[in-house]
């Protein structure tokens, strides 16, 4: 390690070494039977250097002089400008590591999978077609020449089940920073939804009120809206959200906050060494600020927001953390007279630049006077900004799905094609 740091000190103006050590263990279910137990242990390194004001980057499963040399060579042709790296600051965030996850073994997984399967079967004669329970531990280390020397451990658990009966299918899942997963809920709900979706009928094409579940809200907004409030996309002309202070959507408040206790996307420092913080993106529908990685914060001249995250390629880019949706009007009963949609098919094909989407609904129900009728093959169509101007009311069933924290939301006047 010291030799590598000496090499970087001699050959780069600034440098950063990021190391991610991940351990995971999971169990898979197929047609109501337990089929497979997997475990993996991976170490990945990313080296970022600044040479004469431009960035070089290289990754490898081994840290060596060679990977540093590759990063330095790339800095010479890169035009990615950067003056410095974050000094490294940590926030105290509760509930992102649970020591119990380290103790998860095959027996725990076998028991959990049994609970999933049994909870589904107790509901009715469904096929618990495919599912899994997974636990993972990520150990992050980040050091750079600007003073950062940070490390932390994060834990994450997930349970997923898809149930099938005849030509009907539904899925549910639960995700947590701790080993506490609501397995009964996942098993029961996926079975109930599959059963309720049997004997679906066509509805008339037209405009309807629709209620999107937290899952559907996440699927839609993470594809059609979130990229539009990344500072980089705004600066590069790929976003319609060009004017701070302008009202773009209805009176919804949208906040990105990487420091929420027990948040699925919370951490004490982002993948570049910036501490997480609360960023109000929309306040009552008015665009207040963007979220950004470190490089674009410097380039555009705004404060870093702690949104520099690394995906599989380990290159830090802007990414939302925990995105919280809030609205003044909240009610227990928001479904009557509306089409309630549990999930969407094809949300990744939404247009992130225009905000246009047209998506197939999965497990949709028309609710009238307490009666729920399953709806067969319906597509919702529209533009995400228009849709968010037509919010009527929020439900109270708040939950976190990946990086979205929201209840179900009722929208007026949505085009449904069928």
């Amino acid at each position: 390690m010291n030799e590598i740091i000496r090499h970087l000190d001699r050959n780069a103006d600034a440098w950063e070494i990021y190391c991610e050590r991940s351990k995971s263990k999971s169990i898979s279910i197929e047609k109501g039977e337990i089929k497979l137990i997997e475990s993996s242990e991976d170490v990945d390194y990313a080296v970022r250097v600044i040479v004469n004001g431009t960035v070089g980057f290289a990754t490898s499963s081994n840290l060596s002089i060679d990977v540093c040399e590759r990063a330095i060579k790339i800095a010479k042709i890169s035009e990615e400008k950067l003056k410095e790296l974050p000094e490294g600051k940590k926030a105290e965030v509760e509930g992102i590591y649970d020591a119990k996850v380290e103790k998860i073994d095959s027996d725990w997984l076998l028991e959990s999978a049994e609970v999933l399967i049994n909870s589904a079967r107790e509901v009715g004669n469904v096929n618990p077609a495919q599912g899994y329970v997974e636990a993972s531990i990520d150990e992050i280390k980040l050091i750079n020449s600007c003073g950062a020397d940070l490390e932390e451990k994060l834990t994450f658990c997930e349970a997923f089940l898809e149930c099938v009966i005849e030509d009907s299918s539904a899925f549910e899942f639960d995700q947590s920073r701790t080993s506490k997963l609501d397995l009964e809920f996942v098993g029961r709900r996926s079975a109930e939804l599959a059963l309720e979706s049997l004997k679906a009928e066509k509805i008339e094409k037209g405009r309807y009120d629709i209620v999107l579940s937290p899952i559907a809200i996440h699927e839609l907004l993470s594809n059609a809206l979130y990229p539009a409030f990344f500072a980089e996309n705004v600066a590069k002309g790929r976003s319609p959200l060009t004017e701070l202070g302008r009202q773009y959507i209805g009176e919804i408040t949208i906040v990105d906050d990487g420091a929420i206790p027990y948040g699925l996307m919370s951490f004490s420092f982002d993948d570049e060494g910036v501490n997480p913080k609360e960023t109000i993106v929309f306040e009552g529908g008015v665009l207040k600020s963007y979220i950004t990685d470190f490089r674009h914060a410097l380039e555009i001249g705004i404060e870093p927001t702690g949104n520099g995250l690394r995906g599989e390629d380990l290159y830090p880019v802007t990414s939302p953390t925990n995105v919280v949706l809030e609205f003044d009007d909240v009610s227990d009963d928001i479904e009557d007279g509306a089409i309630v949609v549990h999930a969407l098919i094809g949300a990744h094909t939404s247009n992130p630049v225009s905000g246009d989407f047209s998506l197939e609904c999965m497990n949709a129900f028309f609710v009238k006077n307490g009666d729920r009728k399953a709806v067969k093959s319906a597509m919702i169509y529209g533009n995400v900004y228009e849709l968010l101007r037509n919010v009527e009311v929020f439900g109270k069933d708040v939950r976190q799905i990946e990086n979205t924290i929201t209840p179900s939301v009722r929208f007026n006047d949505v085009v449904v094609s069928c």
Partner: protein, 429 residues
């Protein structure tokens, strides 16, 4: 007890040119090993990027084989093999400066008054794969993949974006006039898109171009015939082998031996790749199989693939509909009124219900058998068991490359089709 060992090594370089500036250059070299053990009908799996002996890895996997199950696997016919795809021009022999120069030239062809943002991405990677199992199968391959993605955003009354790509299992020789042609096309299409109207909605006649037709068949049928869905009891075509699922003009294949983006010489279970007939003259002939699903359902293996070190699952490769005999004009005449839709950002399917969604990048209204005004991007949906009954097929098969996601794993694929006429639900205004 059965076991197998995979050693996977990859080298990759990605360069982005964003609004004319070289950014996000990523260079990766990684390797690792993955081990599977099948014991008492139950699978144990272990993978790591750290150094590990095969014996130790198999032992770790065996520790996970803790349950009892019914899994079995089939034997492999071709027991050893070696394949090295030698590119005509090895990307490693081309300087990074030269690659950037080509990208800059392509970016220049994108520019226009109405273009507000451009992105050109260069991709190269090499996958080196070694496999051996307890029955004595041993294979090795080395396959490079090279390509370029060209995207731009245009501003008129609305912001619009459009993207095209060239990706092949080959080297630097794939770049010629083609990258300039797609840049030109991206610019031209965007010039129209910023003035284009909202698409119509409802069930209607849709003429699809080969690129959209490819995504259509991938979503409409490809996923449903992946036999792991059949084993899970979650495929609408599970009981349809030997039965009519399409009209007689329809032939659908999956062929990993074609040198398109989904190419592989051996799958991730060491099985030699071969062409599979999925639908012949409208009759469902076979599923796509892993060694496990082929043993359980009496099929042929060769379709198990993995991203990196992940557990191999049943996947498509180069999936396509065979050509028909109608000209493009005849397809428009047959459609009479409806839409002609082009290109795709992908789609998604639920094999258990047969409902699928796929997206088109732009199109035109078809009125009285002729192309009329341009329309914006829109998605379509349909059901596997209904959609191929009335399909009409044109001439001129073309492939489009992409990445297909399943169970959190992305693998390179290509989808192919001639222009075709289908009846689908269009989700427009």
């Amino acid at each position: 007890m059965f076991y197998d060992v995979r050693y996977v090594k990859t080298r990759s370089l990605t360069i982005s040119l964003e609004n004319g500036r070289v950014e996000k250059v990523k260079c990766d070299e990684s390797s690792g090993k993955a081990f599977r053990v099948l014991k008492n009908g139950f699978w144990g799996f272990y993978s790591t990027s750290a150094e590990i002996s095969d014996d130790e890895g198999v032992r770790m996997a065996e520790e996970n084989a803790r349950g009892k199950g019914r899994s079995r696997i089939s034997e492999v016919e071709v027991r050893s093999g070696r394949f090295v795809l030698k590119p005509k021009i090895d990307p490693a022999d081309v300087s990074i400066e030269e690659k950037v120069r080509l990208m800059r030239d392509v970016e220049k062809a994108l520019r226009d008054d109405f273009i507000v943002s451009t992105r050109v991405v260069y991709i190269e990677n090499v996958r080196i794969f070694e496999y051996r199992d307890s029955s004595g199968v041993e294979v090795f391959y080395e396959v490079p993949r090279t390509g370029m993605i060209v995207q731009a955003v245009a501003k008129g009354e609305t912001l619009q974006f459009y993207s095209k790509r060239i990706l092949k299992p080959a080297g630097y020789e794939i770049f010629g006039d083609n990258v300039f042609e797609i840049a030109e096309e991206v610019r031209n299409v965007l010039g129209g898109l910023i003035k284009a109207k909202s698409p119509p909605s409802g069930k209607m006649n849709v003429v699809v171009d080969p690129s959209l037709g490819g995504v259509f068949i991938h979503e409409a049928f490809g996923h449903a015939v992946e036999a792991d869905h059949v084993l899970q009891g979650s495929s609408v075509v599970a009981d349809k082998i030997g039965k009519k699922v399409a009209n007689e003009s329809v032939n659908v294949y999956d062929d990993p031996t074609l040198k398109e983006f989904g190419f592989y010489p051996f799958d991730d279970e060491g099985v030699k790749a071969e062409k599979k007939v999925i639908i012949e003259k409208g009759v469902l002939k076979s599923f796509l199989h892993s060694r496990e699903t082929s043993a359980m359902l009496n099929g042929k293996p060769g379709n198990a693939r993995a991203q990196g070190l992940d557990f191999p699952i049943v996947r498509m490769s180069n999936t396509f509909i065979g050509e028909g005999d109608l000209s493009f004009e005849e397809l428009l005449e047959e459609a009479k009124n409806g839409v002609y839709l082009v290109g795709s950002r992908g789609g998604e399917t639920n094999p258990a219900t047969g409902y699928f969604q796929f997206n088109a990048q732009f199109g035109y209204i078809v009125r009285n058998g002729e192309l009329a005004e341009m329309i914006r991007d829109v998605s379509l949906s349909g059901n596997t068991l209904e959609i191929l009954k009335d399909i009409k097929l044109g001439k001129g098969l073309e492939f489009d490359p992409g990445f297909c996601g399943k169970s959190g794993q992305l693998v390179p694929v290509a989808d192919g089709s001639p222009p075709a006429l289908i009846k689908a639900l269009v989700g427009g205004a």
